[in-house]
């Protein structure tokens, strides 16, 4: 099993980079609405989601938790303008689930913008929202978020699982990069981002325990750090995580001295905003994988203590 300090340090450094580069979480209010004002919301929502995981697991050091708190606060107040940017997003594209998906983790962390909530409840009543043509994994994620918000997803999550790639437990040698992301996200949604590992149905947990080591081995050797990080999250969601030493050591070695995690290979160079856009996601994933794996490693230690 991997040294817990190594796992933990990856997350500490990732959060330091995210804090130092917080201005990279930026919207483009002047963009032509037809082009997509909502395109730049995704990083913000992911940040809040991961920070929420960090608070929930309670394994962050005080300095790390403080940085996470300040990041969430900064993005809510500045990037989202206290939630008003989400309202604007909903008005530009009422049927898009994105503003709601970004809003939910902030709401769970105590922030509030009543107008977003009112619009969300109204859109939920539209059969058009239910009929949106989303791919099965995304649909499952949206339903989970509706449940967390207090709405009754339609159709219910249990009816949505079977349509995902993962639930059919197909031939493991057919997994490509795209399919692998479908797998990791199905696991995130089924476990509420690692909060409920028992949300994984036993046949899916068995399937993952059997084949995940192969995928981790492969994407480690391919130096696909973003995907590897997500697969390490999946490992930490399993009933018996492996916390694979070779994978974690390779992952930690790929991290830059300032905490940035390249998406694949080595660090890209160029315009700082462009570099941020390429690197923020793997760095967030590094923080996510680190906090979950640290939490699982510490629980195992606690259980091992007589």
């Amino acid at each position: 099993m991997t040294d817990t300090r190594l796992i933990h340090t990856v997350g500490v450094r990732a959060l330091e980079w995210l804090w130092a580069h917080r201005d990279g979480f930026r919207l483009e209010p002047d963009v032509d609405p037809e082009v997509g004002f909502l395109e730049r919301f995704k990083p913000v929502g992911e940040l809040a989601l991961i920070c929420r995981v960090l608070f929930r697991e309670g394994v962050a050091g005080s300095q790390q938790a403080e940085l996470a708190r300040r990041l969430v606060d900064h993005t809510w107040r500045h990037t989202l303008d206290g939630g008003r940017m989400l309202v604007r997003g909903q008005r530009i594209e009422p049927l898009s689930p994105i503003p709601f998906e970004v809003y939910l983790p902030y709401k769970e962390l105590g922030y509030s913008e009543p107008e977003v909530e009112r619009a969300t409840v109204l859109y939920h009543r539209l059969s058009s929202w239910t009929a949106l043509e989303l791919d099965p994994t995304r649909r499952l994620g949206l339903a989970a978020f509706q449940r967390r918000f207090g709405l009754m997803p339609s159709p219910p999550e249990a009816d949505l699982v079977g349509a995902t790639w993962l639930a059919r437990t197909p031939e493991p040698w057919t997994v490509s990069g795209h399919i692998a992301y479908d797998i990791t996200h199905a696991v995130f949604h089924l476990t509420d981002w690692g909060e409920r590992p028992d949300g994984l149905p036993p046949d899916i947990a068995d399937y993952l325990a059997m084949w995940l080591p192969v995928w981790i081995d492969d994407w480690l050797d391919l130096k696909r750090w973003d995907l590897l990080g997500e697969l390490l999250v999946v490992d930490a969601c399993l009933p018996r995580p492996t916390l694979d030493e070779r994978a974690w050591e390779g992952f930690a070695a790929a991290q830059q001295p300032d905490g940035a995690m390249p998406a694949f290979g080595t660090m890209p160079e160029g315009d700082p905003d462009e570099v941020f856009d390429m690197v923020y996601h793997p760095t967030l994933v590094a923080a996510f994988a680190s906090v979950l794996a640290t939490s699982r490693a510490l629980s195992e230690l606690a259980h091992a203590t007589p």
Binding site: E171, W173, M210, W211, P213, V214
Partner: protein
């Protein structure tokens, strides 16, 4: 890096011999070794080297279909076994590959009937496989695919039987890496093993491997061998 002319020639000869074996596996004919008619000439030594690379699989159709090999093929095989004894410090896979050829010879060569067993025919050590990671295990088993023969026991086969899930993982890894020869060799082993996970989709997987890598006769050989083994198993 450019390959030397000799290496290219040998690879071509291995492919030719493998094609001969594939034909025999498909058609139930005798294996004929291209180039073996001049065993003493330069073409002949190339044929011997090619047979050494292919190993016991040269006579696989005769083992699986229980038919006697053509005398000239048996001669090439016997001469290869004699011409390439492994050095004392050879890698375990080399030792085992040679052992597999000797076992096949004992089985199919009437002149070897009643030849001494005992120490002279003792199995090499297989402990290196017990300690191998699943990645290394699968690679080594694929190299030793000629040992994957139904009804034939040996220490390597016993390790494979104990580590079915590891071999299945190795198969997935090899397919993902497009290492078709390794995938085909691992797949052939898996057709012999109990407890292969259903989710692996082994049969379709082997067909996929053959489709992707089947222009390489070494891949076609393993895929066809697996097919014959499976058909034989279905009849039992």
């Amino acid at each position: 890096m450019e390959q030397s002319g000799a290496t290219t020639l040998l690879q071509g000869a291995v492919q030719d011999v493998a094609s001969d074996v594939v034909s025999a596996l498909r058609g139930g004919d005798h294996v004929r070794v291209s180039g073996a008619e001049a065993v003493d000439g330069p073409g002949g030594s190339l044929a011997l080297a090619a047979v050494r690379v292919l190993g016991a699989d040269l006579l696989l159709p005769h083992v699986l279909f229980r038919t006697p090999p053509a005398p000239e093929t048996l001669t090439v095989f016997r001469e290869t076994v004699e011409a390439f004894p492994p050095r004392a410090d050879a890698a375990p896979a080399v030792m085992w590959s040679h052992w597999a050829m000797r076992r096949t010879l004992r089985r199919l060569d009437p002149s070897q009937a009643g030849s001494p067993g005992g120490d002279a025919f003792a199995e090499p050590d297989a402990r290196w496989l017990d300690e191998a990671t699943w990645q290394v295990l699968t690679h080594q088993l694929a190299v030793l695919a000629p040992l994957a023969v139904p009804g034939e026991d040996c220490a390597v086969a016993r390790v494979a039987r104990r580590r079915t899930v590891d071999v299945a993982r190795g198969f997935v890894r090899a397919v993902r890496r497009r290492d078709w020869p390794q995938a085909a060799g691992a797949g052939r082993w898996l057709t012999l093993l109990d407890g292969v996970p259903d989710a692996l989709g082994l049969q379709t997987g082997l067909d996929f491997v053959e489709l992707m890598g089947g222009t390489d006769p070494r891949v076609a050989l393993q895929a066809q061998a697996a097919r014959v083994v499976r058909a034989a198993g279905a009849l039992v």
